[in-house]
Symmetry: C3
Subunit: 139 residues, 3 copies
């Protein structure tokens, strides 16, 4: 069994933002030399998500509106967590809906994806350096 | 390390619907000859989920009602994504709540499951052919 | 490829409750002798979650309030599932938001974690014995 590890860094200029990282993950698989196995891609922070969905700009704005409805940022005083001096409690909730990680099959050296599947980093508390872990195992 | 791959196809006659795929996944494990490892089961579409829960009909109807409350289909004009000509933006949200994939342990050639765990395909935008990927790795 | 399996048991005295299990998972990795690979940690019950987030007490209370808003326990008659004699339909919903499982990379014999990542068991229908599965694969 072979394994491979890489970190990807982000510094999203706003509180929230979304980056397509599919090509970077595919490059890691090539670099790993692993042709059959699994790749785990996870946020290493608890206020960000890695998820798989469509690369369509309108949908991304819809997610933003929808998540704000399910877990509103304001008023920040509604969350006990924000009494620690943070204002990011909502980011911890949004991340649970969108998920921490994805596990993707690798077949014949490629991400084994359906037509529209793309991997995204979703930042919910940006304006600082944060990272994603890519771990590949297989042969 | 051994690996195995199979696609399962669905054509749900309605917009939404739910199928228990536990037996099919177990059959794949047998076919793979892998007795210790992991099986990844994921929707290859971005408007469907694979998840693990109870095979109880009332609960499945409860999920339907609950998801419709959290991410309503109508009015379709509330979503920017639907300006692309689609009417399935809600399906992209429902799928995020229920999840894209499950990873299950394989022990002694079987799905290593608790008493009530069952694997389901949950369609949120059906009336067309769609598929699930089953990838097994291990020994 | 090596593999390792362990069950952890819980008996949460209340309906809901949260336990940090990071150290136990790390101990399993040590016991497994696996230094590069993946660890899967999943609830073996369909009314509980395993998830990764912050070990901050206020946040845990925020999750409790938030999940109760998104999937209220009462009135129990609002859920068809509860006609089976159960009163835990809401627990099946809460668990879908928080997730069934986490998959974590193992690097150099350790959980490959960001600074604040901690693994939790989240009980949504306690007052009885329930368990979590830890499965490690790698080399």
């Amino acid at each position: 069994m072979k394994s491979y590890r890489k970190e990807m860094w982000f510094n999203i200029p706003d509180r929230r933002g979304l980056v397509n990282i599919t090509q970077e993950v595919q490059s890691c698989i090539q670099e790993s030399g692993i042709t059959e196995g699994l790749v785990l891609v996870n946020a290493m922070h608890i206020t960000a998500s890695v998820f798989i969905n469509d690369d369509e700009h309108g949908l991304h704005q819809d997610y933003e509106v929808w998540l704000e409805k399910l877990a509103p940022h304001a008023p920040t005083s509604q969350y006990l967590h924000n009494r620690t001096g943070e204002d990011n409690a909502d980011a911890h909730m949004k991340r649970q809906i969108m998920g921490r990680e994805v596990t993707v099959a690798i077949t014949a050296g490629e991400l084994d994806f359906g037509t529209w599947e793309q991997i995204f980093y979703f930042e919910f508390d940006g304006r600082r350096k944060k990272r994603v872990l890519i771990k590949v195992i297989g042969e």
